[in-house]
């Protein structure tokens, strides 16, 4: 059964098991590899994408649940906030191994799109679902603050 949705702004139809998690549909069927597999049970956030602007864990969302909805992956980020986040990530040299960073950037972007000036507590709230085993957390926090400032300018 095919599922049709908007993937990074393009109408996309994937003819696979509608119960397949969105993560694997994105990675192996739509062949966008920026979204990563980390835990398979929404515990680590490596698979974070936006569905209708909300940060969600794609590893536990069946493909069928995004029918006719807008899905954005790291490859499709376009907003001013997203660009500010990515620029701050580079400026502050956030990534180490880098594997979780697509998910971190997706969560940070969703936060800034809703909250132009997040506090540390807001950052804790939005980002604690994204694990980084390299523990780049201090730089992630600093980069979100920097991106918030840059996006406002």
């Amino acid at each position: 059964m095919a599922t049709t949705f908007l993937l990074n702004g393009t109408s996309t139809t994937l003819d696979v098991d509608p119960k397949m998690p969105l993560l694997w549909a994105i990675r192996e069927v739509a062949r966008l590899h920026g979204t990563k597999f980390g835990c398979g049970m929404a515990m680590c956030g490596a698979c974070t994408v936006h569905v209708d602007g909300q940060a969600v864990r794609s590893c536990v969302m069946p493909l069928s649940s995004v029918a006719n909805r807008q899905v954005t992956t790291i490859e499709g980020l376009k907003s001013k906030q997203a660009k500010a986040v990515q620029a701050a990530w580079i400026d502050l040299q956030v990534p180490q191994c880098g594997y979780c960073q697509s998910g971190q950037i997706m969560s940070a972007t969703a936060l800034l799109e809703k909250n132009a000036a997040p506090s540390d507590a807001d950052i804790d709230g939005a980002m604690s679902g994204n694990i980084c085993r390299c523990a780049t957390y201090p730089r992630i926090r600093a980069a979100i603050h920097a991106a918030a400032t840059a996006a406002k300018a």
């Binding site: 098991d17 397949m20 998690p21 694997w24 990675r27 192996e28 069927v29 062949r31 966008l32 590899h33 920026g34 979204t35 990563k36 597999f37 980390g38 835990c39 398979g40 049970m41 515990m43 680590c44 490596a46 992956t73 790291i74 490859e75 980020l77 990515q86 990530w89 580079i90 040299q93 956030v94 990534p95 180490q96 191994c97 880098g98 594997y99 979780c100 960073q101 697509s102 950037i105 950052i123 804790d124 709230g125 980002m127 604690s128 679902g129 994204n130 694990i131 980084c132 085993r133 390299c134 523990a135 780049t136 957390y137 201090p138 730089r139 992630i140 926090r141």
Partner: protein, 733 residues
């Protein structure tokens, strides 16, 4: 390298292909060192033309001015690509903007880790340390040859030339030439025997903040990890492994699996039963449907709690001496005051963010592997043995690894051998197969940091001086039975006692004993290896001794380090920057300090913690001082300290893999907890200025954080922590 089609779907993938040598255009005339002939050999671009004798094959300069630096070490987050490139580019005077890095093929002849002997691999925080003279020499010789080429072209003396950012200048005649324009001429020149290396004061890249070469691709999803490798006809395999270590397949029923759409084949391999499918999801559903009966007659069936009981008993039995200085027993016997304590450390999983994975393309004559490979030539050997090929028939493409923390550096090459076994059982017909582990496979898959028990006795004399120190360590050996066993001496595995046998404190009588246990649980080095437990034990216990002596924990340590100037200096720097003597913190808060030497780097940390009424520990701030010799890239050093602190803190607070009747009780990040954003402290890092040779930074930052926090908890609550993780101790004041 081959032209195997890793599909370039993104710009960075094309870059990767280029970097991997598969698509280097004919325009790129490179040159590469052919050491034994003392000649540089011109390469007409393409891959696979490396001369067979090239021990210094670390740089290639293109006619397009690109400077490609070949990394013999994996990039797994520690910044090795950038650091190694910085060292070579510094001596070359290369334009950093033109520098790119590609990974070396598996080849112990040219790319051995000089700290390991004849093995190519990364570990022990040795990448920069072992490469430092090698890459400086390679860069300086390349520069000398380019200068000679320019001098002969312009008929001027070399002494009149200068180099800046990949451009050679002759000021008197106002001429200039790019490296790229001189490549052909330079390639024809002999490699100089010796070259003058730069004076540290002339460094332009070393000690400055060059941006990491891998960061941009890691911010837009384009960085290529093993999980991202895709090839036409590629299949995905998941392996069902035994629930107990040491169990084997008795029989299996794959009927339900075969019915899952997308499943291609179910095969038995030595390590379990593999489901090979057209996609991860099909392989996962297929594996879920699989029924396997296991033979667990030889399996480890104990519980970790029972094993710890045994370790506790063993600590009172005779053990092997790892260090004997003076007479500790006598000194403690004659002491005015005796202090004793014991500490328990659990098994720990590495849990890198990218679960283990490898892509294997095997046929009758060759085996090609793509992996975040940390032990290239060991994996090459094990893959060859598994496939029935020679090591030369096995090629390895080392990709970015989504973390490792030691997990991918194992002498049994577990995940590589599994992948090769599966490809072999599938038919060895050249079909690329990606073996993907899940998080549960990872947490339950073994090769853990060993469980340990530590027991101490110490004696203070009437002047409150520490006169005797007796330390007993009980636990499994990492090296025994592996190819690294040769590194053991008199039955002592150095990785069990490092950080303990070599304590720097000036104590007149020291005894450190080791009791090595055996268990069916496979173990491995875990970031900072022995010091992941020894530093905790030593630094928590010395704190207790300081308290018994009525001394300030910082002042007590400093006095014992009078003859260790570098260690004393990092301790003082951390204390000063943390405001150690700035007065007490409010109620419920405390400061703790710890210091260590690990892999020849010295690290001191001061932690400030808050403990609430429920005993919940929150680390508010960590001040870290590090002396790692010459700071090649200060920002990467800082990032490694920040990361090491977070990694070590997560383990100290929450980390434990436990067994119940042989079964691992944890399976994912819900029950194998790691540090998260809301638990991450503020971290400040200070680097001791130094012109000593550089030493490692990937691991040492992990060691002191646990004891610094435990000592801070004591300062806040009066409660000591003796059992890891802290979440198992009641620290309510």
């Amino acid at each position: 390298m081959s032209n195997s089609p890793v599909l370039p779907t993104l710009p960075a993938r094309r870059e990767f292909l280029k970097g991997a040598g598969a698509a280097v255009t004919a325009l790129t005339i490179g040159f590469e060192w052919a050491g034994s002939t003392r000649r540089a050999v011109a390469l007409a671009g393409a891959a696979n033309t490396a001369p067979p004798f090239a021990p210094n094959a670390f740089v290639r300069i293109g006619a397009d001015n690109s400077v490609t630096i070949i990394s013999k070490h994996i990039e797994m987050g520690q910044g090795s690509y950038t650091g190694l490139a910085t060292v070579l580019a510094e001596e070359l005077d290369a334009d950093w903007a033109q520098v790119r890095v590609e990974s070396a093929p598996a080849d112990a002849t040219r790319y051995a880790n000089l700290a390991f002997g004849k093995i190519q691999g990364t570990g022990g925080s040795s990448a920069i340390a072992n490469s430092w003279p090698q890459l400086r020499d390679a860069g300086a010789k390349a520069r000398a040859m380019l200068l000679s080429a320019a001098a002969s072209e312009w008929h001027v003396p070399v002494a009149e030339l200068t180099v800046e950012k990949s451009v050679i200048y002759h000021a008197p005649s106002k001429r200039q030439a790019s490296f790229g324009s001189l490549v052909k001429k330079a390639a024809a020149l002999p490699v100089p025997d010796t070259v003058q290396l730069k004076d540290a004061k002339d460094f332009k890249l070393i000690g400055h903040q060059a941006a990491r070469v891998d960061v941009a691709a890691k911010c837009d999803g384009s960085a290529l990890f093993t999980i991202d490798v895709e090839m036409p006809g590629m299949l995905v395999a998941l392996l069902k492994r035994p629930p107990l270590f040491g169990a084997t397949v008795k029989s299996f029923d794959g009927a339900a699996t075969a019915k899952v759409e997308g499943v291609v084949k179910v095969v038995q391999v030595p390590h379990g039963v593999a489901v090979i499918a057209k996609s991860f999801w099909a392989a996962k559903l297929g594996r879920d449907a699989l029924t396997v009966e296991w033979d667990d007659s030889k399996a480890e069936k104990r519980s970790s709690a029972a094993m710890m009981e045994e370790y506790r008993r063993l600590a009172d039995q005779p053990a092997l001496p790892a260090r004997k200085q003076g007479d500790a027993k006598k000194a403690i016997g004659e002491a005015t005051r005796k202090i004793s304590a014991s500490f328990e450390f659990p098994y720990l999983a590495h849990a890198p963010m990218e679960p283990l994975d490898a892509v294997v393309k095997l046929d009758a004559k060759s085996c090609e592997i793509w992996a975040g490979d940390q032990f290239q030539t060991i994996d090459q050997m094990n893959a060859a043995q598994t496939a029935g090929l020679t090591p030369a028939q096995v090629s390895i493409h080392t990709l970015y690894a989504g973390g490792s923390f030691g997990r991918r550096a194992n002498t049994v090459s577990d995940y590589i051998v599994e992948a090769v076994s599966i490809a072999k059982a599938y038919g060895a017909d050249g079909t690329p197969i990606k073996l993907q582990w899940t998080r549960e496979d990872d947490i339950r898959g073994g090769l853990y940091r060993p469980m340990y028990f530590h027991k101490f006795e110490a004696g203070l004399n009437a002047q409150n001086e520490l006169t005797g120190w007796h330390h007993v360590i009980v636990g499994q050996s990492i090296m025994a039975g592996t190819i690294f066993a040769a590194g053991m001496k008199d039955g002592i595995d150095p990785t069990s006692v490092e950080g303990a046998a070599n304590i720097a404190y000036g104590i007149p009588n020291i005894a450190v004993d080791l009791s090595t246990t055996k268990a069916g649980v496979p173990v491995l080095w875990w970031r900072v290896v022995g010091s992941s437990h020894t530093t905790f034990a030593v630094e928590a216990f010395i704190d207790e001794v300081a308290h018994a002596a009525g001394a300030d924990p910082f002042a007590f340590r400093r006095k014992l380090l009078e003859h260790e100037p570098r260690m004393k200096a990092v301790l003082e720097l951390a204390a000063e920057k943390a405001g150690w003597n700035s007065g007490p913190l409010p109620k419920g808060k405390g400061r703790g300090i710890a210091v260590c030497e690990a892999f020849k780097s010295l690290v001191a940390q001061v932690a400030e913690v808050s403990v609430d009424e429920g005993g919940r520990i929150k680390v508010d701030r960590v001040v870290c001082a590090v002396d790692c010799g010459t700071a090649v890239n200060p920002d990467i050093i800082k990032s490694q300290m920040e990361g090491g602190i977070g990694f070590g803190l997560g383990a100290a607070l929450y980390g434990a893999v436990t067994l119940k009747d042989g079964r691992i009780e944890q399976g994912n990040f819900n029950d194998y907890r790691v540090l998260r954003m809301n638990e991450a402290p503020k971290v400040e890092v200070y680097i001791v200025p130094s012109t000593e040779n550089p030493t490692g930074v990937g691991e040492p930052g992990v060691a002191p954080i646990g004891p610094a926090v435990a000592n801070a908890v004591f300062a806040a609550t009066g409660k000591r922590v003796y059992v890891f993780p802290f979440s198992k101790s009641d620290v309510r004041s």
